[in-house]
């Protein structure tokens, strides 16, 4: 900021800039809404003119499709089907539809049917293309015209910029006079934007804008904006560095997250959304009329998920720690080779692991059943009962997940000072006592965060459940994330239910993270 500028002018201009950016956003939204209404009216008028041109036997220009469509006649081969033919000079005698027909035939046919039923009309096509169709009854059929897609009118930036410039001048004048007039200047300058807003968006928008300007003026007079700006200025560098990632996360993560939260309050059937309030949550949490032993009951799925997470984390930690303890023995040979081979499952992409194990469990003669056969046991039809299918999932996920815990445990063991063991040995401690009083207390705090992380991974282990058991039998081995997926993509696109599931999954995870980290923190420090 240059020293020559009067004090007070800078902050007022800054307030004005903030208000202007906000107003510009509001004005843009209002303008787009207004423009859409206007386009709608213009396209319909255009379609009507074109249709009456067709009625008079003229060929209108600048249209997508047009013609006089005859009355519906039964198809010669299938009398329950109705056919319509083009009449008049243009394309006369061609039947609508058929293998080589242009895509607009369907629009013409539907418009003719609608006109027969309800008389002349003009409407926008509901396909989002911005085309309008108009139809009027005429001699020998229905005259129909379909317009080309609407081209948007240019945004009148000049008007907005003019209002902004005039407002800036008023705000600056107020700031130069100083004192109370500073806030007044900002208020009047911001209020100017209400004028273009009134033209496009009506009274409500301009009142909102004026109220916004008044609020900014008040905040400016009270000195709040100065304080916020001072904070922003002091940490200018940090915030500037942070901005790209934060903005990207705002767009890429916060938007879908909020959309997901909102969608949970809607029901989606046959492509249409209806607001249903808390009905999805009520249906899910009440079990939706299904018994507690029914895989469609949320509580059943939650139970399976908790069991799944607990079983896997226990096995991961148990196996990982046992292997790490084994690998740490000083007399062990081939340590490096063991370590390299044992972390192999971590290196393999999880979807490939899941598919391999699915193949091994599948069928009467799968690899697992062949192994069982080799040791004289009867083969098992793994995916036809809950317990065996669940076991198959757990085996797969244990195979896939223990190396992470093993590596973390190895790291934790490395950090235990060797002299502790030597001292214990001198004091005559047994192997179990050394493990209980030295190894465990050191291992606990190091493993705790890994356990929280691992439990969240397992809770969300979509690939294993989806690819190995695929929920068989009858969806009973599904966990929450795969069940949510099925609501969205396999049970008639119940997107609302799936979104509500997503919200509930988020809440469960949030609770677990908060309490999980509490438990981690409570762990006594070594």
């Amino acid at each position: 900021m240059s020293a020559a500028r009067r004090p007070g002018a800078g902050p007022a201009l800054r307030d004005w800039a903030i208000a202007a950016a906000f107003a510009l956003a509001v004005a843009s939204i209002v303008f787009v809404g207004h423009r859409n209404r206007e386009l709608d009216a213009r396209q319909r008028a255009w379609a009507s003119v074109a249709a009456s041109a067709v009625e008079h036997g003229e060929i209108p220009v600048e249209i997508d499709a047009a013609g006089v469509v005859g009355a519906a006649r039964p198809s010669p081969r299938y009398p329950f089907l109705r056919q319509r033919w083009l009449v008049g000079e243009r394309g006369a005698g061609r039947r609508l539809g058929g293998p080589d027909a242009p895509a607009t035939d369907k629009i013409l046919y539907d418009a003719a049917a609608r006109c027969d039923a309800g008389g002349a009309f003009a409407a926008l096509l509901p396909d989002g293309s911005g085309r309008a169709v108009a139809a009027l009854p005429t001699r020998g059929g229905v005259a129909i015209a379909v317009t080309r897609p609407a081209r948007p009118a240019p945004y009148p930036w000049l008007v907005v910029l003019g209002a902004l410039g005039l407002g800036a001048v008023i705000a600056a004048a107020g700031a130069l006079v100083g004192g109370r007039l500073r806030g007044v200047g900002v208020g009047i300058g911001g209020g100017l934007l209400a004028v273009p807003a009134f033209a496009w968006g009506g009274a409500a928008t301009s009142v909102a804008l004026a109220a916004g300007a008044a609020a900014v003026a008040l905040a400016s007079a009270r000195g709040w904006t100065d304080r916020v700006a001072a904070g922003l200025g002091r940490h200018r560098a940090a915030l500037g560095f942070l901005a790209p990632a934060v903005l990207a996360m705002g767009v890429l993560v916060a938007t879908p997250f909020c959309v997901g939260l909102v969608l949970g309050f809607y029901d989606h059937r046959h492509g249409a959304w209806t607001f249903v309030g808390l009905a999805n949550f009520a249906e899910i949490l009440s079990g939706g009329g299904h018994g507690f032993d029914d895989p469609l009951n949320f509580w059943f799925v939650l139970g399976v998920t908790v069991l799944w997470t607990a079983a896997n984390v226990l096995l991961h930690v148990g196996l990982g720690v046992a292997l790490a303890l084994g690998l740490r023995q000083p007399w062990l040979r081939g340590k490096g080779l063991f370590r390299v081979l044992l972390i192999l499952p971590w290196a393999i992409p999880s979807y490939i692991t899941a598919l391999i194990w699915k193949g091994m469990f599948q069928g009467e003669y799968g690899a697992i059943n062949s192994l069982l056969d080799a040791v004289g046991l009867a083969g098992v039809s793994w995916f036809s009962s809950w317990a065996t299918a669940f076991a198959a999932n757990v085996v797969t996920n244990t195979w896939l997940g223990f190396p992470f815990m093993m590596v973390v445990a190895l790291g934790a063991l490395e950090s235990i000072p060797r002299d502790l063991y030597e001292a214990a040995e001198v004091d005559g401690a047994t192997g179990w006592q050394r493990f209980r009083h030295i190894t465990l207390p050191h291992l606990g705090p190091a493993l705790a965060p890994a356990v929280v992380l691992g439990s969240i991974w397992t809770f969300n282990m979509f690939n294993v459940i989806f690819l190995v058991s695929a929920g068989q039998p009858g969806g009973s081995t599904d966990i929450l994330v795969t069940d949510a997926y099925r609501w969205a993509f396999e049970r008639g696109e119940r997107y609302g239910m799936a979104a509500a599931y997503g919200t509930l999954i988020f809440l469960v995870l949030l609770l677990w993270t908060v309490f999980g980290t509490r438990i981690v923190r409570r762990e006594p420090a070594p």
């Binding site: 560098a237 940090a238 915030l239 942070l242 790209p244 990632a245 934060v246 990207a248 996360m249 993560v253 879908p256 997250f257 959309v259 997901g260 196996l319 046992a322 292997l323 084994g326 023995q329 007399w331 062990l332 063991f338 390299v340 081979l341 972390i343 192999l344 290196a347 393999i348 992409p349 979807y351 490939i352 692991t353 598919l355 391999i356 193949g359 091994m360 069928g363 003669y365 799968g366 690899a367 062949s370 192994l371 790291g411 060797r418 063991y421 030597e422 190091a446 965060p449 890994a450 929280v452 992380l453 969240i456 989806f466 690819l467 994330v481 969205a488 993509f489 997503g502 988020f506 993270t513």
Partner: protein, 283 residues
């Protein structure tokens, strides 16, 4: 040092390690066997030794052509590379400055920012699958690589922020302090001193981010419906679909797709463990 253990304890340790190692290797060997053994069935015997050797599965995998005559495997591999590389580039570019700010500056809201990046990283993208699907549908980005890149960036950015912050934390601050004394601004410090020093960290982060996107299956399989837009995981999964399972093709595909990233993983894995646990301990 502790003395040698009893023979029983030593035998038990070796037996346990060998048993688990065998259990780890067995499925991998079965896949290798299936890739070079003729036939579409997965395994008709428990033995991991192939009865006959053929290159037919690899030939079929690499030679399959789509409706328009392009080589499908090449096209899917290209899709995978583009999606993963673009997501990585977006992730690194957008996150390196933020990671530096979180590592070096103190400002209000820093803890909140750190925690939110961590939380977003821990809650996997599967949870956002449906809203992303609806949004991409509205934007007309379903079935397009651009949409997939945006989706992968949701995972890549928080991961890159956390991992890079770890690397920046480990860099000595003295060089920057000296530069500040000489009048360099934060941006100059970052571009001239920190970025060149953190080059290995940037490379490792980029590679991990790339591998994550390369191995992603469910998003790609949900968003990509057109066979020409598949990525490699979708191709591999579809080769053992519900109605026609060709395990030979699957095994060949699995080997071709995952051996490069596995090699990469082995080279880089010691960096990964440090980053993961450091992040979670501090969070």
């Amino acid at each position: 040092m502790r003395g040698r253990p009893g023979p029983i304890a030593a035998a038990c340790t070796y037996a346990g390690l060998i048993a688990v190692t065998a259990a780890v290797l067995y499925p991998v060997l079965l896949v290798c066997k299936k890739a070079i053994e003729p036939g579409r069935q997965f395994a008709l015997s428990a033995s991991p030794v192939p009865t006959a050797v053929t290159g037919a599965h690899f030939a079929e995998l690499l030679g399959a052509r789509g409706g328009d005559g392009t080589l499908l495997f090449l096209r899917h591999a290209l899709n995978s590379v583009i999606a993963a590389a673009a997501a990585t580039a977006v992730g690194i570019l957008l996150s390196c400055t933020a990671a530096y700010a979180l590592s070096r500056f103190r400002f209000p809201g820093q803890r909140a920012a750190l925690t939110s990046f961590l939380v977003v990283q821990m809650f996997p993208a599967t949870m956002l699958l449906l809203p992303l699907y609806v949004l991409l549908d509205r934007l007309g980005l379903l079935n397009s690589l651009a949409g997939l890149v945006l989706v992968y960036a949701t995972t890549a950015i928080p991961f890159c922020v956390w991992t890079l912050k770890g690397y920046f934390d480990a860099l000595p601050r003295e060089l920057e302090e000296a530069a500040r004394m000489d009048g360099a601004g934060p941006w100059t410090c970052f571009v001239r001193i920190v970025l060149p020093l953190a080059r290995p960290g940037l490379a490792v982060t980029a590679l991990f981010s790339f591998m994550t996107a390369w191995n992603e299956f469910i998003m790609a399989s949900t968003f990509m419906t057109d066979e020409a837009r598949y990525t490699l995981p979708v191709l591999i999964q579809s080769s053992v679909g519900q109605y026609s399972a060709d395990w030979g093709l699957f095994a060949a595909g699995a080997l071709v797709t995952s051996v490069p990233v596995m090699a990469l993983f082995y080279v880089l894995q010691r960096y990964l463990v440090g980053g993961l646990t450091a992040g979670s301990v501090k969070g």
